[in-house]
């Protein structure tokens, strides 16, 4: 039988006060049920509850201007999430510094409500001197962690802490076909430590299939050589099933995607695609581009996992780092002794 949680007889024993000696079971006993009890109904209860409270998802898209970030987000969520005017007189103004713009929408599908926040980063990598252009982004991500931390350590805290932490950062790599550029490496190196980074090859319709495969291999080699762990990270595979699934995904990272928000007629069906003189690139056709894989990863299968890793790993490491800094003392337990020791070690 799988024991999903680690043995914690120590914790059981520690919890009892001295006045009530307890004969705690040293080993958790696995028992047979003689008949139907109804424990599995808890799954339905959980489902109902989560449908009632709704979900939150915060996505960040990073990449140089013109790589199709806004179109991609619109294609992912099949709606006009990012609104970019597309009139002929419109000139995309590139801001002088990296700015972050967040839009929040509520979308509903089959009774499931989701509050989606998409943060765009216009100006990234567009300047002549792009040094430290990742700093505003890192600052923004850390600010969200800080907000959550402050809410969490309040005395009377809200029943549901609003979660604005960035759950996933999609990084758009320009389809040069050669290697990752220094800017890409620098950015991904820094950010994969604090957030789940999903790299994608943007505008992949400029690469043939062979070029695409070559490019991907080179990118994977580059990432490994620099020790950059992108999502799904190898360290967080829970069990062998997860590992097999994630290995398959890892083979295909980065996904080569094409975004489109116009529909065209193909073989009597209406599909999303880009119409060119030499054919129609169907966005949802796995033979044309890997957009379905990206969508499945981000939304259909790994959304909860993205949120969990953000909460359990990235947020926790931010919290550890923050509480260890000397201007924020750790909250000492009741007898105060532990806190004092930590004070001394921090002095």
């Amino acid at each position: 039988k799988l024991l999903g949680m680690p043995q914690t007889p120590r914790q059981i024993l520690r919890a009892s006060p001295e006045e009530t000696p307890r004969d705690a079971n040293p080993a958790n006993v696995g028992l047979e049920l003689f008949g139907y009890v109804g424990i599995e109904a808890v799954l339905d209860q959980m489902r109902i509850k989560t449908m009632k409270t709704g979900f939150e998802f915060n996505l960040m898209v990073v990449g140089q201007s013109g790589l199709g970030k806004s179109t991609m987000v619109n294609t992912l969520f099949k709606s006009k999430v990012s609104q970019k005017p597309t009139g002929p007189d419109y000139e995309e103004r590139i801001p002088k510094t990296v700015q972050l713009q967040s839009v929040t929408h509520v979308i509903e599908e089959k009774g499931v409500k989701m509050k989606l926040t998409v943060t765009d980063t216009p100006g990234f990598g567009d300047q002549i001197n792009n040094e430290n252009c990742w700093d505003p982004i890192i600052k923004y991500i850390n600010e969200q962690y800080e907000k959550y931390l402050r809410e969490e350590i309040l005395i009377s805290r809200k029943r549901k802490i609003p979660d604005t932490r960035v759950h996933s950062c999609v990084y758009f790599v320009p389809p040069t076909g050669h290697w990752l550029r220094p800017l890409d490496l620098e950015f991904m190196r820094r950010l994969s430590k604090i957030v789940n980074v999903v790299p994608v090859i943007a505008k992949a319709d400029t690469l043939t299939l062979e070029e695409r495969a070559e490019f991907k291999k080179r990118i994977q080699k580059d990432l490994k050589a620099h020790g950059i762990s992108v999502y799904p990270q190898e360290d967080f595979d829970d069990n062998s099933d997860d590992r097999i699934l994630n290995n398959k995904i890892r083979d295909k990272i980065p996904f080569a995607v094409v975004g489109a928000d116009k529909e065209h007629q193909v073989n009597g069906k209406r599909v999303l695609g880009r119409k060119t003189k030499w054919g129609i690139i169907e966005v949802e056709n796995p033979a044309h581009c890997e957009f379905p894989l990206l969508r499945d990863l981000l939304i259909r299968s790994h959304l909860q996992d993205l949120k969990d890793i953000t909460h359990n790993v990235h947020y926790e490491s931010y919290r550890v780092q923050r509480l260890n800094e000397s201007n924020l003392l750790v909250l000492s337990p009741i007898n105060g002794l532990l806190g004092k020791d930590e004070v001394e070690s921090n002095l």
């Binding site: 049920l33 808890v42 509520v106």
Partner: protein
Amino acid sequence: MASSEVARQLQNDNCRPLSLSGHVGFDSLPDQLVNKSINQGFCFNILCIGETGIGKSTLIDTLFNTSFDDRVSTHFQPNVRLRAQTYELQESNVRLKLTIVNTVGFGDQINKEDSYQPIVDYIDAQFEAYLQEELKIKRSLYNYHDTRIHVCLYFISPTGHSLKTLDLLTMKNLDSKVNIIPVIAKADTISKTELQKFKIKLMSELVNNGVQIYQFPTDDETISKINATMNGHLPFAVVGSMEEMKVGNKMVKARQYPWGIVQVENENHCDFVKLREMLICTNMEDLREQTHARHYELYRRCKLEEMGFRDTGPENKPVSLQETYEAKRHEFFGELQRKEEEMRQMFVQRVKEKEAILKEAERELQAKFEHLKRLHQEERMKLEEKRKLLEDDMIAFNKRKAATELLQAQAFASTPSVSLKKDKDRKNFM
């Protein structure tokens, strides 16, 4: 909360609702969440409070359709103890880590004033353990084995009259710390009409005394109707049994009497099925959530305020935890320094004392040494004198010896042969 309310609430947060033009696929989100939870497993902790022999263990066995622990307790416990056991149950693909906490010796003592205290202490200890884990710097909350009590089944004896004072007292002390579900135990001793009156009496007593028992939630449409009906049947009158008898052509769990068979799962006979429905099938998740969101938060707030942390300062300005921390840190630091000073003073004192003692000892030794030296000197002088005397004697003796020899030598020189002859004659004569 109806779904339109949720949409309105979300709208109030400055976000626009958006319509989708196709299938995106995030309706699989609840399934993703459920799958994750299946992987992690569930945790559920039940506390059973009731007198010895009232049927707690049997009821739990019947509820979960398995036999947990066979140990029967004696009535002679000096005070109330809590005994907790954890079991791993699995039904289809759901793994449940179930902890049953039994009160041993509850209601057996002659003086029952402190009976509820060990229970309150135990519940607080579980909250405390969770709070400490949550406040740690390096914490691992996602695989923390949650031992907080999610539900308390309070067993009321079927007297048919009213609540005992002990019951009231215990429940009043526990209602803000845990979800209480009162059950009438051994309900097969009460007739149907008496049962109705008993239930009404019990509920009115609870309400009059301000005891807040757990109300099944009625805010979700899917379960609100059934929960509302169940709320009207509280407290549940239950009968527990693991023995199976043949009734009709089925084997059912029942208790056999000469006058008939009480079937546990027959809704006409007792409310066991209702209890199982409510406790496990419908509201387990809600019980866990209430424990975490209401009881635990209350405990946490009280505990932190006790320790001196505040959200708002004396002028109602929000005090950041940072400032409180700094203040506490200074306090601790000052305390530390004071203690160090004290110890240093004490050390210096001790050193002085020791030095004085050692000096004293040294002086004594010195005195002794002098004394002995003097004695020694005296001895020596005496011996010197004696030696001198002896030497003088020896010289005198030598002188006399020399003198006598000289005389003898002189005498010998004047009559040397005569004396020889005389000697010889004398010798021959003899």
